[in-house]
């Protein structure tokens, strides 16, 4: 009985991990429950989903002497500014009433890294633009980044189209950050996320199961 039990345990562990991978949590962040001008990362839905917001910049890695390494530029938290990422009342900023009614994420002045506290698989993502014609005239991009900063997917769109919704139509796995391009506000940030257990946890649980299997076989 031990063999089947141990074998079943291993299977259960692996299946549990798989199931956790697949259990999507979906929510929409609208920043309306907080005061205008406060940090966007204080939105309770964002906190609940393990999402934070930081100013982003295309910066290089630095060597041990603090010298920029050529060609190492990638999107990361902007260390050149101390400005906070805030939710703002769009109407008060001249961008019309926010799609959600009051506030929206203020990305007018900086690209923003929407940072997940763990790597996720993204089953769905969309944002709504403000009710304004302001924005960059050229095509701009929302980038989906993995945990190395590499771009997984480039979602192109045009700003300045009032109340337009920009949506991801494919599932993306292994997302750590979403780079929201600057030039506008973002509201009703909808995320359907599937948490991915850490590689170590997956490896460990799988190894445990396999070890039990092998011991029984021996």
């Amino acid at each position: 009985m031990f063999y089947p039990l141990k074998n079943k345990l291993a299977v259960v562990v692996i299946m549990t991990g798989f199931a956790m991978c697949q259990a999507a949590s979906a929510a929409s962040i609208n920043f309306d429950s907080q005061a205008a001008g406060t940090e966007a990362k204080l939105d309770p839905v964002a906190i609940n989903m393990g999402i934070s917001f930081d100013n982003a910049a295309l910066l290089p890695n630095l060597d041990g002497d603090g010298i920029a390494i050529p060609g190492s530029e990638h999107w990361q938290i902007d260390t050149t500014t101390s400005e906070l990422v805030t939710a703002e009342n769009t109407a008060a900023q001249g961008y019309g009433v926010a799609p959600s009614g009051q506030n929206a994420l203020d990305a007018r002045w900086s690209p923003i890294l929407m940072h997940f506290n763990s790597v996720i698989n993204l089953a769905g993502f969309s944002v709504t633009l403000p009710n304004s014609t302001y924005g960059n005239l050229a095509q701009t991009d929302i980038l989906f980044l993995d945990n190395t900063g590499a771009t997984l997917f480039d979602l192109s769109y045009f700003q300045g189209h009032p109340l337009a919704t920009v949506a991801l139509t494919t599932q993306l796995n292994g997302v750590k950050d979403i780079l929201l391009s600057s030039g506008t506000f973002y509201d009703n940030i909808s995320v359907a996320a599937v948490p991915v257990p850490s590689a170590l946890w997956l490896f460990g649980s799988a190894a445990l199961g396999m070890a039990g299997l092998r011991r029984r076989q021996a």
Partner: protein, 706 residues
């Protein structure tokens, strides 16, 4: 055939070809300008006309038909895509038009200017522009040019506010002279830097305009804020072949672009008349910088396109209805204080209105523009006291004199109660009728406060120290040096705004980029050394030597006054000026004073001392009435008979000018630009003045990490 016969045939052929060419169907101008068109396809570069993605500009072609025929249409292509067909006179709501090329129709019958207004492209790269004109007999002619659209990739945080401090005519020596006078040197080191010296980044700027290596202030400013070269005397437009001054093909200003895409506000502050070239070249489109009535009307009429929010300077004469009586309040004669005329006013054709969402305009010399501003919600300040008390209204207009404001030295003398001569009973600012004028730094501070309070999406603010140039033209060294010092105090205000210091203590604005630059250098000013005399000794030398020349063999025929006074190298030492509590030199002529020479001078007399009166300003409506009519007009052309006032420099020695006339001129040398704040690192090296626009737009649209 003999040689002379061959020659005769050749000449006849050339003449015949030339005649045919003059009358042949052709496209003689294609706008935007390009080398590809100018060289008939021989050279594609350099790319003359560049735009940021989505920046608006007009397409235009001048077409000359065959004799007796007409042009029926002109079609424009961006690459292979048709972007407009001009085949009719201007009509409401239509962005294309075919109009007579009125400047040349006297010699080329039926020549036309065909336009597509307000075009833009979102596709980065070099574009080929083609115009195909069709004649009434069905014949066609094609012309090809090019332009570039510059795209930006995101890099980081954007610059929210842009402050351009433009010292008109301010070259490197103007800066140096102000530093020496204001701060002094000790054992070879400046005791303190100017505010503009403390900026973190420096570039050298090539200042040429579209048609010359020596630019004037209109293209000198406009090139910075449109990214494109313009002709002398023109603002926000390219040249054309019509005679109207407000219908030229346009390019979009930075202020218009950022108002349209980001909701930024615009502020303009100047010590000049607000119609003057530098202030107007931030917001107004005209081929004639002198058309003041139309220029100031457009400030208000198109404020919806520029988001103009602050306008401070001189120039009330354009805002008063024609035939508004004015006197200085200190015994001066009354005169017409208005300069409004129909001849300098504007109306726009329907295609321009449609392409640029522009107001129609009207020829209305009787317009009360001051009231119109106020009725549009602007708060008006007529003097320094009103400016101080204005608070932070939503929109602020300040007009502190009829035309150009008084020069810093004369404003300071007014505040100190110093008369120009021992026998004078009125100060210079009283003579002008505006004894309570603000200094430039006071105007800058108020502008920053108002814009900060009303610009949630940021602003563009241009602050001009105008009389650095105007007094360098007059070779009035003291006045342009003091104006440069005044300008630097405004620079300090802008730096304080960034750092949250001074009047802005505790409220930093790190997302602000501040530039200090010039449109061009003026006068070829150089630091030649210092006087070897005390001021009393200098006065004695002036009295005794005047315009005499040396008789000694070694220096025979040389100016005696010059040889007695000018010290260079070690003899110059380090001039020392005492700074008064008001922040300016206590006396204008200290012992062993700084001496300046001019490489682009007109004819003049020099006695090295500060002129008691400024040169008569022809822009002032009252310059022909007492007391301004007695102000010296210039050194030479008055011939020593300048009315009741002493001819100011006739007691000096005569210097033959490098250039014709009695004024120094602009020069074509590169000028320094210094930058501070977010995005300052985008500026460096030796760059064209139009490159500055693209650096600013990268920082404000694409963002920056520098």
């Amino acid at each position: 055939m003999k040689k002379h016969q061959v020659l005769a045939v050749a000449i006849t052929s050339i003449l015949a070809a030339g005649t045919d060419a003059a009358n042949a169907l052709s496209i003689s101008r294609l706008t935007p300008p390009s080398q590809l068109f100018a060289t008939s396809g021989v050279s594609a570069g350099p790319i003359i006309s560049r735009f940021v993605t989505g920046q608006r500009f007009d397409l235009q072609a001048t077409v000359r038909p065959d004799a007796g025929l007409t042009i029926t249409q002109v079609e424009f292509f961006d690459g292979s895509t048709s972007v407009g067909v001009a085949n009719a006179a201007p009509a409401a709501g239509v962005k294309t038009a075919l109009v007579p090329a009125s400047a040349i129709t006297g010699t080329v019958a039926n020549a036309v200017a065909a336009s597509v207004r307000g075009y833009s492209s979102l596709t980065p790269g070099v574009h080929t522009l083609t115009a195909i004109a069709t004649q009434s007999n069905g014949a066609t002619v094609t012309a090809t040019g090019n332009f570039e659209v510059v795209g930006f990739t995101q890099a980081g945080r954007k610059v929210k506010n842009v402050i351009i401090l433009l010292g008109d005519g301010m070259g490197a020596s103007h800066r140096t002279a102000a530093r020496i006078v204001q701060n002094g040197y000790s054992q070879g080191k400046a005791n303190q830097k100017l505010a503009m010296d403390t900026f973190t980044n420096t570039a050298m700027i090539m200042t040429a305009s579209l048609d010359t290596i020596v630019t004037d202030s209109a293209p000198g400013m406009a090139n910075y804020v449109t990214g494109n070269k313009q002709n002398s005397g023109q603002e926000g437009v390219w040249p054309d072949d019509t005679s109207a001054a407000f219908d030229n093909p346009r390019m979009e200003y930075m202020s218009e672009y950022l108002a349209r895409t980001q909701g930024k506000k615009l502020g303009i502050v100047t010590t000049a008349d607000v119609f003057d070239a530098t202030p107007a070249a931030n917001a107004v489109h005209t081929s004639n910088r002198g058309n003041g009535t139309g220029i100031v009307d457009q400030f208000l009429d198109d404020a919806g396109n520029t988001n103009l929010t602050v306008l401070l300077g001189g120039g009330r004469k354009w805002f008063l209805p024609n035939a508004t009586s004015f006197n200085n309040g200190f015994g001066g004669a009354a005169f017409n204080g208005s300069a409004r005329t129909a001849g300098t006013d504007y109306t726009l054709t329907a295609d321009i209105k449609a392409g640029w969402n522009a107001a129609a305009g009207a020829l209305d010399a009787s317009r009360d523009l001051l009231s119109d501003f106020q009725n549009a919600g602007w708060t008006y300040a007529a003097d320094r006291t009103a400016l101080t008390n204005a608070g932070t209204p939503s929109k602020l207009l300040g007009l502190f004199s009829l035309s150009n404001m008084n020069i810093a030295k004369d404003k300071i003398d007014g505040r100190r109660g110093t008369f120009p001569t021992a026998t004078a009973t009125t100060t210079i600012v009283q003579d002008y009728g505006f004894p309570d004028q603000p200094m430039l730094d006071e105007m800058a501070e108020k502008a920053l406060q108002v814009l900060d309070a009303n610009s949630p999406s940021g602003f563009v603010l241009t602050i001009e120290g105008a009389s650095i140039d105007k007094q360098a033209h007059q070779m009035d060294s003291t006045r342009w040096i003091v104006d440069t010092i005044e300008f630097d105090k405004a620079v300090q205000k802008a730096k304080d705004f960034v750092d949250g210091k001074g009047e802005f203590n505790g409220k930093p604005h790190p997302d602000t980029l501040v530039l200090v630059t010039a449109d061009h250098e003026c006068s070829g000013a150089v630091i030649i050394g210092a006087s070897t005399k005390t001021d009393s000794e200098l006065q004695a030398k002036v009295a005794s030597l005047g315009n005499s020349t040396d008789t000694a063999a070694a220096t025979f025929g040389q100016p005696s006054l010059r040889n007695a006074v000018v010290g260079n190298y070690a003899a110059a030492g380090f001039p020392k000026y005492t700074i008064a509590a008001d922040g300016f030199p206590q006396v204008w002529d200290p012992d062993y004073k700084l001496l300046v020479g001019y490489g682009a001078n007109g004819d003049r007399y020099e006695n090295f001392r500060t002129r008691p009166f400024p040169t008569n300003d022809s822009q002032q409506p009252g310059n022909g009435s007492a007391p301004l009519n007695a102000y010296p007009r210039n050194n030479v052309s008055d011939g020593g008979s300048a009315g009741t006032r002493p001819f100011q420099q006739a007691d000096g020695y005569f210097i033959t000018g490098q250039v014709p006339g009695d004024q120094a001129v602009h020069t074509g040398g590169d000028i320094p630009l210094t930058a501070y704040g977010r995005g300052a690192g985008e500026l460096g090296g030796t760059i064209d003045n139009t490159d500055v626009f693209f650096a600013l737009m990268k920082a404000t649209v694409g963002g920056t990490t520098k």
